[in-house]
Symmetry: C2
Subunit: 463 residues, 2 copies
C-alpha cells in the first residue's frame, strides 16, 4: 500500500471538481501552465530553484489506486463515468524546467508543463507544494552559505521543520545550496547526504559529572567526538575538555576529541574564551562548532567580528525560512488549445504564452541581466529552461546531488556581487521581450472582445 504522501488525493479538491467539469464537456486540448514567483520576499536578492527531482517522481508515478477511486466513489461528489476515466489517468505531457540549483528572479518560469488540460491542471497542487518548499529553503540556505565564507554548515532543523517531508526535503535543499550535510539521519539513506551528530544537553545532565559524560562519549566515538560544553558553565567545561584530552592521550592513545559545541549565550565572546582555553591547553586541534537559533545574519555578524568558529549548525530559521516562510508563487495557465491566456486579476496579472528565460553575462562571466521572452523568440543568451520530460519519457534522469551542488556553487559565484549581500540590493534587471509584450497586449484585446461577446451571447440566450 502506498503512503498517503504518494496518493493522487494529495491535491486540492478543486482540481478534481474542475476535472469533472472538463470531463463532462469533453475538454482536454493541450494546455500550458507555468510555475513562477510573482515577487521576491523583502530583502531577498535572488531565488534558487530546487525540488524538480521530486516533481519528476510525482509526475512519473502519478495514478489513482484502488483506495483513491474507492474514496472518490464513496464521497458521492463525482459521476461514475468521470471516476472510471481516472483509472487510466497518467501524466503524458512535457516538462521544461530550470535545473535545480539555478538562480532565478520574479516572473521567470521555474517549470513549464505542457499536457492535455486535465493532466496539466490536476498536478497543480502537489507540483506547487514540492517546488515551493525546496525552492524556499534552497534560496534561504544559499544566504547562509554565502555568509559562512567556507565554514562548515550543518542542517540542524528536523525538530521544528514542518513535518517529516519538510525535514528531509530541507536537508536536501540546503545541501543543494551548499550546506555540508544534515543532522537528520534519514538524509543519508534517502539522498546520500553526509550526516552529523553529537550530543544533547540531556546527555550531559544524565551523568553526575559533566566530564564523565564527555569521557563516555569520547570513548564511544574515539575519532569523532564533538562535546557540548554549555550545559552549566561553558568556560569551566572547556577547561575540563583540556584536562580530558590530556588524560585521553596519556591513557588511551587512540582518542582525539574533534570539537566542542556551544549552543547558547554570547557565541562570539564564548568562542574566543574557549579558543583561548583550548589553545593554552595545547588543544589547538579541537574545533569550535556553534549552534542555537542561527541564521545568515548571525553568521555574518559572528564572522565579520572575527569569532573563532569553525562550523555552524543552522536549523529552525533555515528550515522554516523564518523571515519569509513562503514565496508568492503561482502555477498559471498561459496557453490553451494553441491560444495564449493571461489572468488580469488586480495585482496578479501574468505574462501569457510559452516562455523562456535568456540570461546574459558580462566579459567576466558575471550575470548582467535576463530577458523574459517567448519560447521561440530569437534572443542571444543562455536559455535557462531545459527539456526534462517529453511525452511522459524522462529525457535525462535527475542529476546526482554532487552535480546539482556544483551547479548551485557556480550560480552563486556568477551572481553580481551586490546580489550576494544579505541586504536588499537594487533588483537584478529582467527585461521583457518585445514580442512577449505584444502578445500580452493582443491577449488583453482579445479577452476584452470576448467579455463583450460573453455579455451579448448570454444576454441573447436569456432574451
Amino acid at each position: 500500500m502506498r503512503h498517503y504522501s504518494e496518493s493522487a488525493l494529495l491535491t486540492d479538491l478543486y482540481e478534481l471538481t474542475m476535472l469533472q467539469a472538463y470531463f463532462s464537456r469533453g475538454m482536454d486540448d493541450t494546455a500550458v501552465f507555468e510555475f513562477f514567483v510573482r515577487q521576491l520576499p523583502p530583502g531577498r536578492n535572488f531565488l534558487m530553484a530546487a525540488g524538480l527531482a521530486q516533481v519528476v517522481d510525482y509526475l512519473t508515478e502519478l495514478l489513482f489506486d484502488h483506495d483513491d477511486l474507492a474514496w472518490l466513489s464513496a464521497s458521492g461528489r463525482f459521476d461514475p463515468e468521470f471516476i472510471a476515466s481516472l483509472i487510466d489517468f497518467r501524466f503524458s505531457g512535457d516538462v521544461d524546467a530550470l535545473p535545480e540549483g539555478t538562480v532565478f528572479f520574479a516572473d521567470e518560469p521555474v517549470i513549464r508543463i505542457t499536457a492535455p488540460l486535465r493532466e496539466a491542471q490536476f498536478i497543480e497542487s502537489r507540483v506547487m507544494n514540492l517546488l515551493h518548499y525546496q525552492t524556499l529553503v534552497a534560496s534561504k540556505a544559499a544566504r547562509s552559505v554565502i555568509a559562512a565564507q567556507g565554514r562548515q554548515l550543518v542542517d540542524f532543523g528536523l525538530r521544528r521543520a514542518h513535518g517529516a517531508e519538510a525535514a528531509v526535503l530541507s536537508a536536501r535543499a540546503s545541501y543543494i545550496a551548499g550546506f555540508d550535510g544534515s543532522a537528520t539521519t534519514l538524509a543519508a539513506p534517502l539522498f546520500e547526504i553526509p550526516v552529523f551528530g553529537t550530543m544533547a544537553h540531556s546527555f550531559v545532565q544524565a551523568y553526575e559529572y559533566e566530564t564523565d559524560a564527555f569521557a563516555a562519549f569520547a570513548q564511544a566515538f574515539p575519532h569523532n567526538a564533538t562535546l557540548l560544553i554549555d550545559t552549566y558553565d561553558t568556560e569551566a567545561a572547556a577547561q575540563q575538555v583540556v584536562r580530558l584530552q590530556q588524560w585521553l592521550q596519556e591513557e588511551e592513545r587512540d582518542i582525539q576529541l574533534k570539537a566542542v559545541r556551544i549552543d547558547s549565550g554570547d557565541l562570539d565572546a564564548l568562542a574566543r574564551q574557549v579558543r583561548q582555553i583550548l589553545d593554552a591547553g595545547d588543544c589547538g586541534g579541537i574545533g569550535i562548532f556553534a549552534s542555537g537559533n542561527l541564521d545568515e545574519y548571525a553568521l555574518q555578524a559572528l564572522l565579520q567580528n572575527g569569532a573563532p568558529i569553525d562550523g555552524f549548525g543552522v536549523g529552525t530559521r533555515m528550515n522554516t525560512s523564518s523571515d519569509a516562510p513562503y514565496l508568492d508563487c503561482a502555477y498559471k495557465l498561459v496557453e490553451y488549445a494553441g491560444q495564449a491566456r493571461r489572468k488580469r486579476s488586480p495585482g496578479k496579472a501574468t505574462w501569457p504564452g510559452c516562455k523562456q528565460v535568456f540570461r546574459h553575462y558580462d566579459a567576466h562571466g558575471v550575470m548582467c541581466g535576463d530577458t523574459l521572452a517567448l519560447q521561440h523568440d530569437e534572443i542571444k543568451g543562455e536559455a535557462l529552461l531545459q527539456p526534462v520530460i517529453r511525452g511522459s519519457m524522462l529525457l535525462t534522469p535527475s542529476s546526482p546531488l554532487s552535480q546539482v551542488r556544483a551547479h548551485a556553487r557556480a550560480q552563486i559565484a556568477s551572481l553580481p556581487p551586490a546580489l550576494r549581500g544579505l541586504d536588499a540590493a537594487p533588483p537584478y534587471p529582467v527585461a521583457v521581450s518585445h514580442t512577449l509584450q505584444q502578445l500580452a497586449q493582443q491577449v488583453d484585446e482579445h479577452q476584452r472582445a470576448m467579455a463583450e461577446a460573453d455579455h451579448a451571447h448570454w444576454g441573447a440566450d436569456l432574451g
Copy 2:
C-alpha cells in the same frame, strides 16, 4: 515496506550517537523528559496543544526495521553490539499530556515522557517535530476562528504548506482549532475532515466565455457550485452570475448556484458591490466567499468593517504560521534515576522535576491563572496533564476529532476576553509552586557541588 516518514531513522543522528554511548556504559535508568514552549511568539496570547494522536502512533509503532538496521551497519559509525540491541528497541514507557485542543502557556509541559533513558532520549526529534508543527498551526488557526465570528473557514494551504505532511497535519490542526474543513482532499480519507473545492482561474481561462465556464461548472455540480469571479472583472462577472442563475432556473430547474468566490483586489469593496448586484438580481441565496493571502488580521478588519462575506479560505499564512513560523520549544530532561535535573544555559534554564499544571477558574468559568507545580504537589485546580500511555499500553484511544474540536471550542470560550484579542494582552498569570522553586534551588546547589567535585575528581585522575 514502510514509507520513510515511518522510519526510525527520521531522527537526529545525535540521538543514535548518544544511545550508543549510553549502551556502552549500560546506562538505562528511568528518565523523565518534558516538552514545553519557552516563550510565546510576539503578539500571541495563548497556544493550543495539538499533535498528540500522531505522537502516540509514533511511539506505539516505533521500531528499527531491516532497512534501518542495514543502514546503521553500513554507515560504519556504530558498534555491532549496539546495533543488535536496537532489534528489540520499542517504546515501553509512560506518557502524560495535555489533551489536544487544550490552551497552554510558556513553560507548561505539553507532554511528559517517562521511560528508560535510551527510549526517552531517542524519541526526542520526531516527538518534537510532530508536536511542534500541529501546535504551531492550531495556535495560529484558533486566532482566525476567533476573528471569523462564526463565518465558514476553510484551510486552503496545501500548495504552500512545507511538504506533504505539513499539508495534511495543518488540515487536521486547523480543524481541531475550529475550521470547518479543508481544501486538501486527503484530509477526508485520512481524518474524516469535510473537504471543500471550487475552481481555479485557469478553469475560467480555459473557456472562451467566462460565463460558459460558470455554466459548465454549475451543470457539473448542480447543488454545490461556487464560481470564481475575479479572473477578469469582478463586477461584470457578478452580473453574469445573476443572468446565469436566472437562465438556470428557467432552463434547468434543479440547478442552484451556491456561492461566488473573490480571490484578489479590495475584498471589502468588491464584496459589497457583488452583494448588491446579487441581491438586486434576486440572488440573495448566493453567498460570498473570500480568499487570497488572508489571515486573522485581514478577517478581523473585513468583518469589523461590515464586509458582507460569508466564508473565508485561509491558506498559506495559517499553514506556515507566517508571522511566527516556529515556536521556541524544547524537550528537556527533568529527572534521571530519581534525581531532578535542570539545564542552566543562559536564557535557556528549565524547571526540574516531574511537573503538572493546575488551572484555576473564576466563578463564571473563566480561566484566571495556572500554577506550574510538581506532579504530586497538593494544589487545588484542574490538573491539565492526563495519563495517555502506561508501560506501552494506550489507556484511551485518541479522541475522535469531533470531541477534540468541542474541547478546543470550550477552551477558547473560557479564555479571559483580553486573551482572545489579536493584539498582545498582559500575559496570563502562571505561578510557580513553592515546592518547585525549592527543588530548582536544590538542584542548582547540587549541580554546583557536583561541578566542584568534577574538577577535583578529574583533577585527581589527571594528577
